[in-house]
């Protein structure tokens, strides 16, 4: 009899765990499939696949320093992936996180090298806010084009990616260029503007905590707030949403601004936490990788934390793989592509009846 309260308190936990376990099955299978095919590709091209995969997965988490490096890479991936969860739940196919990251990084740098009179803490906040606002605005631009001109956000966000990257290139060769440097890059941020590190001697900084907070906030927003509910209804069925009095335009703009804002924040954090200055290729494709992060997480912001870390492991691993086995690092794109394909296939199989997508 005394075990009844224990069981009743355990049951939901167990059920939750087993549900999470089941939900994780498809993504795990997808990753294994992607790694398997990539291993085959390596073998076919004369590499020792088993060694490579070994280096890649285990090497990336072998000691404190490498784990910290993984989390450093996971920070922008989680932020972008979480934002894309919101956009994708609203059926906004934002392919422009890369550009939104660049917009955020540029605005953050512009604030970072100016306004030296501000107290450091306020200046850091300003840098992060500027990055988020710039990213949100860059995303909202595509949202406005979709709402007012019915231009597909798939195409416009991709075009805005190129424009943001070209704009960054202009900034670091022109207005923001460090006159002392021969290489096109901005001046370095003052040392007291760097995001604090909390795991010395590693480079890990508070950005990862911001990313975790963003994931929780996005989860609460999407699944525990009426505003998030409206976003999801618009994503599932815009006409039903319109009949229910939910403004499709406003929610589309909100969703893409949130996802752009988080990508911009990721850009600002890369500036204030890792690079400390702006240059032309500030992102190794985090914006595109974020798409895989969100999809693997089934557009659930909390699950995006796990998938963000996973992709960071793969990215760190692919760097090691290049160093130790001379395997071109670009293989990571192949793994990402395969992951996305298999996740897409799984979710299509799970859907039973006809339902329009997109």
């Amino acid at each position: 009899m005394s075990d009844i309260p224990i069981r009743s308190s355990l049951d939901p936990a167990v059920r939750l765990l087993s549900r999470a376990g089941l939900a994780a099955l498809a993504p795990i299978a997808a990753v294994l499939f992607a790694l398997g095919v990539s291993a085959l590709l390596l073998q076919l091209n004369g590499f020792h696949a088993a060694d490579v995969v070994n280096v890649m997965v285990l090497g990336a988490v072998s000691d404190k320093r490498s784990i910290a490096e993984v989390l450093l890479k996971a920070t922008p991936l989680i932020l972008i992936g979480v934002g894309l969860c919101v956009a994708f739940r609203c059926s906004i196919w934002n392919i422009g996180a890369e550009g939104q990251l660049y917009a955020g990084a540029s605005a953050a740098t512009a604030c970072g090298v100016n306004f030296g009179a501000l107290p450091a803490w306020l200046h850091i906040v300003l840098i992060l806010v500027a990055g988020s606002v710039a990213g949100a605005a860059w995303g909202a631009l595509a949202g406005l084009l979709r709402v007012y001109f019915r231009a597909s956000e798939v195409v416009t966000t991709i075009m805005l990616n190129y424009i943001a990257i070209i704009l960054t290139s202009y900034l670091v060769t022109g207005p923001l260029k460090d006159p002392a440097a021969s290489y096109p890059q901005s001046a370095k941020l003052a040392r007291d503007l760097w995001l604090p590190r909390f795991l010395p001697p590693t480079r890990l900084h508070v950005g990862i905590l911001i990313a975790l907070a963003a994931a929780v906030a996005a989860y609460v927003f999407l699944f525990r707030s009426s505003a998030g509910y409206a976003v999801r209804v618009v994503g599932l069925n815009p006409s039903a949403a319109a009949y229910a009095g939910i403004s499709v335009a406003r929610n589309v703009l909100l969703a893409i601004a949130i996802s752009g804002g988080l990508a911009g924040l990721a850009g600002a954090i890369e500036i204030a936490g890792v690079n400390y200055r702006l240059y032309q290729d500030i992102s190794p494709g985090y914006g595109f990788e974020g798409i895989a992060v969100a999809l693997l997480a089934n557009n659930n912001p909390l699950a995006a934390v796990a998938s963000g870390v996973l992709f960071a492991v793969l990215r760190s691993g692919s760097e090691l793989m290049q160093i130790s086995a001379q395997v071109p690092q670009v293989l990571v794109f192949v793994i990402q592509g395969l992951c996305i394909l298999s996740v897409a296939a799984f979710s299509a199989f799970r859907r039973r009846g006809p339902r329009p997508a997109g």
Binding site: I166, T173, I291, L295, V332, V334, G337, S347, A348
Partner: protein, 310 residues
């Protein structure tokens, strides 16, 4: 004197325009056919990259240009087949599948290029201009229009054929019906999936050809991400051209002009515009173009939506 140099400039610009528009024309014509069947393939960028690499690798190994172009088309076809399996048979989200194809295209071609070619540095012999007798001797007009390579000329028959097939054959009618009202096709006993497959595959072969043009008739080398967004621009050309192959031809020429101007103005020391402004031109134009065609009533109504047999 002034007029002569102006005419020279124009002649070079027009010639370069058509040449630079050629990969866009092939890819966008293929995409137009694909989208007419209701399938949105945003993986064109990846397909073009794979076509560019396969064409280059084949031509590099065999020394045969025609074989290179064939390999470009075949690899585009096969990549499109992968896409079609996911988009048509599995009914996965087409945008998601397209994103994956783009990542695969970029990853695979860069991986193979770095593994096998990065240290060779040897290019291939690219397609030579084919001077059309008499016409090519016309001053200004001749060099611009009648001293191009075979593939550039080929854009005209390809576009006309695509238009003819889409609008003057029963196959084309069915393709368009599959994009507008697949159920109507289904009840006549024809397979919606089969028609969609055919459209996606034709689109893939043309995309691969467009990619191969870049390495076999434009540059003589493969460079990582050599397409630099041309596949995405092809997508917006299709919208701007309202899903018509003839329209694709002229809209592509407009975009080709930006590439041509970019090349010419970058080479001109008197131009004092930051080079980034010229770089951004095609992308900015795409956005403006999409704003201009805000009324999208003629998009295939089932674009991007999988068909479930009742």
């Amino acid at each position: 004197m002034q007029t002569a140099s102006m005419l020279d400039f124009l002649s070079t610009a027009v010639g370069a325009d058509w040449r630079l528009a050629t990969p866009l024309i092939f890819a966008a014509t293929g995409e137009a056919i694909c989208e007419r069947a209701g399938v949105l393939n945003i993986g064109v960028e990846g397909i073009m990259l794979i076509g560019a690499f396969s064409g280059f690798a084949t031509s590099h190994a065999t020394g045969d240009l025609a074989l290179g172009f064939g390999a470009g088309m075949a690899s585009g076809f096969l990549t499109a087949l992968v896409f079609a399996v996911f988009a048509v048979t599995i009914k996965a989200n087409q945008i998601v599948a397209g994103v994956a194809i783009n990542l695969l295209g970029l990853g695979l071609t860069s991986f193979l290029f770095r593994t096998y070619f990065i240290s060779t540095g040897r290019g291939v012999d690219i397609a030579r201009p084919l001077n059309i007798p008499f016409l090519s001797d016309i001053p200004y007009l001749g060099p611009a229009l009648f001293q191009q390579n075979l593939l550039v000329y080929a854009t005209i028959p390809v576009v006309i054929a695509a238009w003819g097939v889409l609008f003057r054959t029963s196959y084309g009618l069915t393709i368009r019906a599959v994009g507008e009202h697949p159920k109507a096709v289904d009840v006549t006993g024809k397979s919606v999936a089969l028609y969609r497959y055919s459209a996606v595959l034709i689109g893939g072969a043309l995309g691969g050809l467009g990619g191969a043009f870049l390495t076999l008739a434009h540059a003589n080398q493969f460079v990582e991400n050599i397409t630099s967004g041309r596949g995405f621009i092809a997508l917006s050309i299709v919208v701007f051209a309202r899903w018509s192959p003839i329209g694709v031809f002229f809209v592509s020429l407009l975009f080709g002009l930006f590439y041509a101007l970019q090349l010419q103005l970058q080479a001109d020391p008197n131009v004092r515009v930051p080079y980034q402004a010229l770089q951004a031109l095609p992308y900015l134009t795409t956005i403006v173009a999409l704003m201009l065609v805000r009324n999208r009533w003629d998009a295939p109504s089932m674009l991007g939506i999988p068909y479930w047999k009742a």
